[in-house]
């Protein structure tokens, strides 16, 4: 069975996001009242599995996220046989 997963990796709350800060500042310079901007990472993957939840959970834990600094969430949808 084929699946599509959409995975979002976020920095843990309170951790400084230098890239987000710089982009937020650039928007401010364009005149927008941006208080905060964060840059999560977004992954889309298509994979075959009989245990999709377990596999995506493992992929996040083992590589996509670094548990020291990240949280993650995902959605999985079937793509058919």
């Amino acid at each position: 069975m084929k699946w599509k997963a959409k995975v979002v990796i976020r920095l843990k709350e309170g951790l400084n996001d230098p890239e987000g800060r710089v982009i937020g500042k650039a928007l401010k310079n364009l005149g927008y009242k941006v208080e905060e901007l964060k840059v999560p990472k977004y992954f889309e993957l298509i994979f075959e599995s009989e245990t999709p939840e377990k596999d995506v959970e493992e992929m996040c834990k083992r590589l996509l996220a670094n548990p020291v600094i990240h949280t993650y969430e995902y959605q999985i949808e079937p793509l058919g046989e």
């Binding site: 230098p18 020291v68 600094i69």
Partner: protein
């Protein structure tokens, strides 16, 4: 004479300099492609560079290579394992050392000389330094901002300081927690550091303060 493996991943680029520094320090060294075996080596160095182009996070993909299991086994045997710059990132990503290296506080690549205070002389890499000694080495990284939720199992080895050894905010180039430039594991046989000792291992390079790291490592491996 102890023999060290200098591990080469796709994108490693400080391997030859590291090799030369180890030889100058009195050790034998070989470049070892990450798919080769590590038997017959007395220690391992993970040199600097941009393995896998720093994709995902610096060091993340290399840290999941099979060779890391062998390196973990060597570290558990008490053999010296040194990670320099990208090597340090690989060591934290593989959990051989605690914490993580995040993008620099000001998001840019930093390439400059810094002063370091030696905070721990009891590791396999620092026995030839004096406690509190101030040394000079270059840094060259975009992700060297050390972070850890807990400092319990950390031995701080090097801290960014000013010329006098004061640990100040101004002397912190990348936003690292407590000005941390290098840490070791509890046993002191695994060290990760962002500055490049191999680029400070001869007077004509501008400093030879880094050479003693390799000399210490060679001496330690003779035990």
């Amino acid at each position: 004479m102890p023999k060290f493996a200098v591990i080469v991943f796709p994108g490693t680029n400080c391997d030859f300099e590291t090799l030369e520094a180890i030889k100058k320090a009195g050790g034998k060294a070989e470049r070892v492609w990450y798919k080769q075996s590590l038997k017959d080596f007395d220690g391992v160095v993970l040199p600097g560079g941009f393995s896998y182009a720093d994709y995902l996070r610096a060091g993340a993909i290399s840290a999941r290579a099979e060779v890391m299991e062998e390196i973990k086994a060597l570290a558990n045997e008490g053999k010296p394992v040194l990670g320099i710059c990208n090597g340090f990132q690989i060591l934290t990503e593989s959990a051989l050392l605690p914490g993580a290296l995040r993008p620099n506080k000001i998001p840019s690549f930093l390439c400059k000389w810094v002063y370091l205070k030696v905070s721990d002389t009891q590791t396999a890499f620092t026995q030839f330094y004096k406690e509190g000694e101030v040394i000079r080495m270059p840094i060259a990284h975009a992700e060297g901002n050390y972070y850890s939720e807990s400092l319990d199992s950390i031995r701080i080895t090097f801290q960014y300081s000013d010329e006098k050894g004061e640990i100040t905010e101004d002397a912190n180039p990348n936003g690292s927690l407590l000005n941390i430039a290098g840490i070791s594991n509890e046993k002191g046989n695994v060290l990760g550091m962002m500055p490049h000792p191999e680029r400070a291992s001869d007077k004509w390079l501008g400093s030879e303060d880094g050479l003693r790291i390799f000399k210490s490592m060679v001496e330690y491996a003779k035990r």
